[in-house]
């Protein structure tokens, strides 16, 4: 059978494993129109509205003190949450991918859990632990420690919603690569740390970078969870997405979309870098992408 296939002219071989030109064009058309309508148009709208009154109105949105403090808080939050999840992701994927132990599926499901928990619930659970009426509330109050309605609460909620991002990307990547290379390195006398740095890390670095980018975009963009724990104190506990909502509710639509465009720009940069990585290291990323 394979020899019959081999003698088949290439053009004919192509046609049995694909659809006719008309069908192909139709399917491509549907895909492109669907994506344009559902995904691209909203993005374009953000930029159109942001520049509706020109450059100066656009830039004015960022000179306001509240906007600057929102940018600072968002950067601070991501600067704590992303490295935390990076280290956690590496640790968790090492434990899960390089060893066989009982209850592994449960562990992975639990790591995944924040991913499918409603953002509102993610915020609520921290209120229940750290709020004045919560589990640790009275103790925190007695020691004058403010967790929710302050930066620590926002950081915790952000860590929660981005918790699985790195681990979810790295686990399948590390599983795919197996343990043979590390074992070889160890047999040659390398320390575990050395084996990780010189053998494992080079294998996963692009997947790692990609997951950090997504983690960062989500950390900077989280709305629901942060909204529940923030308290909306202007200049103190408003992150960029909350600031978008505030400006929107002050009928300052241009400024609202301007700040939104900053976040959308971040999303675009994330996608751009991701596409560049994929173009350069396609095989490795594809292996990890299945973890989504």
């Amino acid at each position: 059978m394979s020899s019959a296939l081999a003698t088949r002219p290439p053009a004919r071989a192509g046609s049995v494993v694909t659809e006719g030109l008309a069908v192909r064009a139709l399917l491509i058309g549907i895909a492109v129109v669907f994506l344009a309508l559902f995904l691209v148009l909203p993005l374009v709208t953000v930029f159109i509205q942001a520049f509706a009154k020109g450059w100066s109105a656009y830039l004015a949105a960022f000179t306001e003190a509240d906007a600057r403090s929102a940018i600072r808080l968002t950067l601070l939050t991501a600067a704590i949450a992303v490295p935390f999840n990076l280290v956690f992701g590496i640790m968790a994927s090492w434990a899960v991918a390089k060893f066989e132990f009982r209850g592994k599926n449960l562990l992975v499901t639990l790591i995944d859990l924040p991913f499918s928990v409603s953002p509102v619930v993610s915020g609520l659970i921290y209120v229940l632990v750290f709020g004045a009426q919560g589990l640790l509330g009275p103790w925190l109050l007695a020691h004058d420690i403010q967790i929710i309605f302050a930066v620590p609460g926002i950081v915790l909620a952000t860590i929660f919603v981005t918790f699985p991002f790195v681990a979810r990307q790295l686990i399948p990547l590390m599983q795919e690569q197996g343990t043979a290379e590390e074992e070889a390195a160890l047999t040659l006398g390398a320390s575990g740390w050395h084996a990780f740095r010189t053998v494992t890390l080079p294998n996963i670095r692009w997947g790692l970078l990609y997951s950090v980018l997504l983690c960062n975009a989500r950390a900077m963009g989280e709305f629901g969870a942060v909204s529940v724990v923030s308290g909306h104190i202007r200049g103190l506990t408003n992150t960029l997405p909350l600031h978008v909502e505030i400006l929107y509710n002050e009928y300052n639509f241009v400024a609202s979309f301007a700040v939104a465009s900053l976040l959308a720009g971040l999303a675009l940069v994330t996608l751009l870098v991701k596409s560049l990585l994929e173009w350069r290291f396609s095989a490795e990323i594809a292996a990890g992408a299945r973890g989504h």
Partner: protein
């Protein structure tokens, strides 16, 4: 060179020369415990104060039941749409070569990266009766924004990348020789697709569907801007949690949250089962 078990707690894992299990496993569990499990336990504890009967009472309260129905029903429809179009997009992206394919491929991830609040206000201004798309739909007699249709649109937006990205790598890996064999044996293209190509992809499609569904059910940021938030019509469960909270009804909020949490957990478990089944049946996830 199996390492002798140093501590009794290591017995539950298979021996390995690779070091670092204790520390990475311990660290993972500690973080998981503090960040995820402890707060979730607080939620369940608070809700269990109501007792099972109490939670059931909250869940069957007509308004809560209707919000859960809206969240789950619309999310189901949206995940279905996302799966169908997601499959089509994944197919087009992997099988066909056309100008701008890379760009289209990059666009798929947009909802992953775009903050939900930004998506919400953008969708609301597009689909409102005086918005770009809403105006056209209004001419056709369709009200999109501020109806369940608005919720549906937001959920499709959120869910689409999951549907595409779970199927895409598997379509890439399909061995074309099988399709050729099927064609050689006389099957037409349609039969080849339905009988040969699609069946092994079903687990991935189901996984993508479940992920899109789970995200849609919980979605809040993008929906409140575009849904009408009318009780019994377009009020979603996460919004009802927020409403219960601003009524100071912590018990009710926790009960709804626990119900949603339980369903998330079951969905994730279902995904794991699908993948385990697929591993047995097809040898891969």
């Amino acid at each position: 060179m199996a390492e002798p078990p140093l501590r009794p707690r290591r017995r539950f894992r298979q021996p390995s020369v690779i070091p670092g299990f204790g520390i990475t496993f311990g660290y993972t569990l500690t973080c998981l415990g503090i960040i995820v499990l402890l707060p979730l336990a607080a939620l369940v504890a608070r809700a269990s104060g109501l007792g099972l009967a109490g939670i059931w009472q909250v869940a069957t309260d007509p308004r809560v039941a209707s919000a859960l129905r809206v969240s789950f029903g619309v999310s189901l429809l949206a995940a279905l749409t996302a799966s169908v179009f997601g499959f089509l997009i994944a197919w087009v992206l992997t099988r066909y070569r056309f100008p701008g394919r890379k760009l289209v491929d990059a666009v798929v991830d947009l909802p992953f990266a775009l903050p939900t609040a930004v998506a919400g206000i953008a969708l609301a201004s597009l689909y409102a009766p005086n918005g770009l798309v809403g105006e056209q739909l209004a001419k056709l007699g369709i009200e999109a924004a501020y109806t369940p249709v608005g919720i549906y649109i937001a959920m499709v937006f959120i869910g689409l990348p999951f549907a595409v990205r779970t199927v895409q790598p598997l379509i890439e890996e399909i061995d074309k020789e099988i399709e050729e064999a099927s064609a050689t044996l006389g099957a037409d293209r349609w039969h080849t697709l339905i009988k040969v190509v699609v069946p092994p992809l079903i687990p991935a499609v189901l996984t993508g569907f479940a992920l899109a569904f789970a995200r849609g059910v919980g979605e809040y940021g993008s929906i409140i801007f575009i849904a009408g938030n009318l009780p019994y019509v377009s009020e979603i469960a996460p919004l009802l949690i927020v409403i219960k909270l601003s009524e100071f009804d912590y018990g009710g909020a926790c009960a709804i949250a626990t119900i949603m949490l339980g369903i998330s957990f079951v969905t994730l478990l279902a995904i794991n089962l699908i993948q385990a089944w697929s591993r047995r049946r097809f040898g891969y996830v």
